[in-house]
Amino acid sequence: MNQPHPFPGFSHAIVRWGVLAALVGVIFFAVPLMAKVYELRVLNNLLLYMLLGAGLTIVVGYAGLLDLGFVAFYAIGAYSYAILASAQFDFHLPFLLVLAIGTILAAFTGLLLGYPVMRLRGDYLAIVTLGFGEIIRIIINNWNGLTNGPKGIARIDRPDLLGWQITTPRDLYLFLLVVVILVYTLVFRLERSLLGKAWRAMREDQVALRASGVDTTRLKLLAFALSASIGGAAGVFFAASQRFVSPESFVLHESILIVVIVVIGGVANLIGTVIGAFVVVIVPELLRGYQDYRMLLFGLLLVLGIILRPEGLVPQRYGIGWILKKTGWR
């Protein structure tokens, strides 16, 4: 209490509410009004990757299990929507119903994958999940009868939210923004819950946790299922926003990018995940002018970033909780 406040004057309720209102005003009204269509598309992409990052943060960050096949759940969600709401089979189920189906299907697949591999230690888990991701991709690529193979599924229905047709990138931006805020709130609550604490304990010392009578297998399965369900939901949003899916979007490279999002910003830290998504989506956009050298520069920045800040750009202790506390919300 005797320490000087890091943001002087911020403890005043009026200032706090004012800043929050300004923030809401900018991201909900100013950005969608000012941004060009192309910029909105980039932002929507950013929001999707933020969702994926939040999902993987649960497994990799909180539970400490390295998952290199996360894109499989993304693919399951995307193909659920593509198959159940498109001209492919002339199924046109409502968006929210498919969202539920895709999420549950992905969570179920997460359990299915998680159950047999729970005994494996970190790095073995990494290769098994990687292999699982490849298996799903190969099946999607070759099961022509269901997924239309490498050609992919086009003419996917526009999402319809209880009468609100999402047609323009602007609508999509607002919709995804609300989803991201909801999911991040949820995941942050999860981090603070007893379950979140148990995950952290498991990450630090699995043996000790098991010795104190906690069922670590259940913890791991919960982490897998929850993160898979977020991945599946993100997949549904992806299919609904692109209105076209193909196996190209679900390659190993994509899984690796999501791991980069989770690690580069700072592991087990949602602020870090947001920053990681910025790094992965916005930095290559900014480098677009360099054309051929774009990915080379991106790789170099990645290596340089991790050497200079091995804990990630934002260390774990500076998370959402830290900001809330320092600004007097809690």
């Binding site: 230690r121 292999g131 490849e134």
Partner: protein, 317 residues
């Protein structure tokens, strides 16, 4: 007859996987690092040797004896060069990240993989290059069966080098140090083992063997591309895990096993399922077998069980 032919094919691709898997497994054994940039050593080996051989051979139609020696030296030189690249990689990227949270060196490796691929893509272009069939395509009669000469060179060379590596690890001073480090980092340091040199040696050997894998692969299939390291590297990594990552004999076993699995799965799948599941599911079989093996033997076929050494104590973050 065809069975033997297929087995020879399987063993030659298996030998290549094994060569690359050795680099993964040795690095993992000592540093507990999944070196995702190792597949690029394989790719660099193919490209360096392509360039060097082109300098030696020029445009001549028939090769003189001196040019044959030159080709051999080109291959040797490109392997050594890639070994140095791998050492440099360790010095610049992995050493500063040693002892840091475990995912950081992994990210460094991923970043370097992107960098190396793009350096090659920018300097030579993204196209597919035709690689010379170095060892000729003539068949050699062994017991009435014609066997591809390239396959014999691949299998012979790989097995000889793997045996040499095993002797090196068991007998030489550096080999003993490497094994001590793999056993227990802390204790090895406590009894005064210098750690940087053995680690550099591992990267050099692993990189050079991976590069040779690249040369042999390109000579066998006659093509190379800047992105070739990703998928083959992934297969070799799978082989290393299948055999038990950290175990050198395990990597060899895993490599050959994966080669056999792939080749025969590709041939048998359509027959067994009546054409329902075709050869394109070959990789699914490889990964499915890996998952099943790991369920019953969580540390791979020849890996040390969990709970020994440093691996299980080291925190992820």
């Amino acid at each position: 007859m065809e069975l033997i032919q297929q087995t020879v094919n399987a063993l030659s691709i298996g030998a290549i996987y094994a060569l690359i898997a050795l680099g993964y497994t040795m690095v993992y054994g000592v540093l507990k690092l999944l070196n995702f940039a190792h597949g690029e050593m394989f790719m660099l080996g193919a490209f360096f040797s392509y360039w060097l051989i082109a300098q030696v051979v020029g445009s001549s139609e028939t090769l003189s004896f001196l040019q044959f020696v030159g080709i051999g030296l080109s291959i040797l030189f490109s392997c050594l060069l890639v070994g140095l690249v791998a050492m440099l990689l360790e010095r610049i990227v992995y050493r500063p990240l040693r002892g840091k949270p475990r995912l950081s060196p992994l990210l460094g490796a991923l970043g370097m993989s992107i960098v190396l691929q793009n350096v090659v893509q920018i300097s030579v272009g993204p196209g597919i290059f035709a690689y010379p069939t170095l060892f000729g395509s003539t068949r050699i009669e062994i017991g009435g069966i014609g066997i591809n000469r390239t396959a014999i060179v691949i299998i012979g060379l790989s097995v000889a080098l793997m045996a040499a590596l095993q002797v090196f690890l068991q007998r030489s001073r550096t080999g003993v140090r490497i094994r001590a480090l793999a056993e227990d980092h802390e204790i090895a340091r406590l009894i005064g083992i210098e750690i940087n040199k053995p680690i550099a040696a591992i990267f050099f050997i692993g990189g050079a063997l991976g590069a040779l894998g690249g040369v042999l692969y390109a000579a066998n299939y006659g093509v190379m591309q800047f992105s070739m390291g990703t998928i083959v590297g992934l297969k070799a990594f799978t082989a290393a895990v299948l055999g038990g990552i950290g175990s050198v004999p395990g990597a060899v076993l895993g490599g050959f096993l994966l080669g056999l699995l792939e080749t025969f799965a590709a041939g048998l799948l359509p027959k067994l399922t009546g054409g329902l599941i075709g050869t394109e599911y070959r990789d699914v079989v490889a990964f499915a077998v890996l998952i099943v093996v790991l369920i019953f033997r969580p540390s791979g076929l020849l890996g040390r069980p969990e709970g020994t050494g440093e691996a299980s104590d080291k925190k992820d973050f």
